[in-house]
């Protein structure tokens, strides 16, 4: 015999959909500028019908059943896209909670026997709770993806390699220099050295808040890698407080060329390339 609830749901599909959409639109703070009513209807219809079509006696009390995979897939894609569009968790949560309420409401209207109503409602409750949990998991994952993407972007943006002269590159580092950042710095610097066939690179650390032994190690690594490629690397922008910490921590920077300002590093680079800068004699 077929489960009472499933029969009711299949019979009243259209009715449930209407009720659910009305419920969604009624909810306070619904961000209707993020999605049009038509889109909402299409989205809701797809989810509801997939759910009802996949419900069966055997799986109604088992949210893990693989027949629900398509349902979970739809839910995931909805919540991921909502996370990226900037919906609040409450709005995304209401989406699935309002479906639960609608379903339970329909059940209570249709089933007269209190005992049956109770068991059926509990089953639906449990099923939809499990769906909402997975909705939240994917919602958070969607948000995390946004964060990871932004982290990557920041890392990319914050390592511009500038051609200051023919054969001289400069790379101002702004912010903390950790190991993953160092890797990005090294990669973009070394690639740019090859692309422009530059023989000198200036690493300006004026924007690095603090230099501890780990940061110093990263700097030394970058210089060593540059030298292995056959180019020279000058570190500039050593502020007095950085010089102090370097000495107090006993870090040995003697193997690398350090300059206090980018200007003096550039001058050193000119010297190394046997270039000279003159002031033009004024012509009367």
């Amino acid at each position: 015999m077929k489960n009472e609830a499933i029969k009711i749901f299949q019979k009243k599909k259209q009715n449930i959909l209407e009720k659910w959409i009305t419920a969604q639109l009624e909810v306070n703070g619904m961000n209707d500028d993020l999605i049009t009513n038509d889109d909402l209807r299409i989205q809701s219809e797809e989810l509801l019908y997939t759910l009802i079509d996949n419900l069966s006696d055997s799986n109604i009390s088992n949210p893990e059943a693989h027949e629900f995979d398509p349902v979970v897939d739809i839910l995931s894609s909805i919540s991921i896209s909502r996370a990226k569009q900037g919906y609040s968790p409450r709005e995304t949560g209401n989406y699935i909670y309002s479906l639960k309420e609608t379903l339970l409401q329909v059940l209570s209207e249709e089933i007269k026997d209190p005992a049956t109503l109770y068991t059926q409602s509990m089953a639906i409750n449990k099923l939809l709770d499990s769906f909402s949990t997975s909705t939240f998991e994917t919602f958070i994952k969607g948000r995390e993806d946004v964060i990871y993407r932004q982290t990557d972007e920041i890392t990319q943006i914050s390592t511009p390699v500038i051609r200051v002269w023919d054969g001289i590159l400069a790379l101002p580092i702004i912010g903390t220099l950790d190991s993953s950042r160092t890797q990005v710095v090294m990669e973009s610097l070394l690639q740019e050295i090859i692309d422009t066939s530059s023989s000198i690179a200036i690493l300006d650390i004026s924007g690095v808040p603090a230099v501890d032994s780990l940061v110093a190690q990263h700097l030394i690594k970058t210089v060593s890698a540059t030298r292995l490629m056959g180019a020279e690397c000058i570190i500039s922008g050593i502020r007095p407080e950085i010089a102090q910490t370097v000495v107090h921590l006993g870090i040995d920077l003697s193997s690398i060329i350090t300059k206090s300002t980018l200007a003096s590093a550039l001058k050193t680079a000119f010297d190394m390339m046997a270039l000279e800068v003159y002031k033009k004699k004024s012509v009367r």
Binding site: I194, S197, M229, G230
Partner: protein, 135 residues
Amino acid sequence: MEKIPILRMGHFLLVTIQVDLYDQLAENLESDLVNMVSKTNAKGVLIDISSVSIIDSFMGRILGNIATMSKIMDADTVVVGMQPAVAITLVELGLPLKGVYTALNVEKGMELLRSKILLEEENQQEDDDEADNPE
């Protein structure tokens, strides 16, 4: 038996490594190259590794050996064209390639070798001048 060809260009020897070396091949290169330095009286050795995607400690040791051996026989070694990924890996591995000069490409490597020879000749000249005029 596979062999890495060694080209002679004036005072220099030129080696282009096109394949990923296995150990025997690298060891052969080392002995071939050192023999060639002695036979041709070369002043410099240029090794182009721009198509080498992996340098491990063994390969690094071979490069270091070549440089040190050549130096004893009065020839400088320049390794050119190292890939960025290889350079980063070597630094992480802790392999400094001591005694090996590096340059970005063959052209700059040649320049470097030439400047070294010029420098030596100048020194030679000065020594000779001093010998001529003992006062």
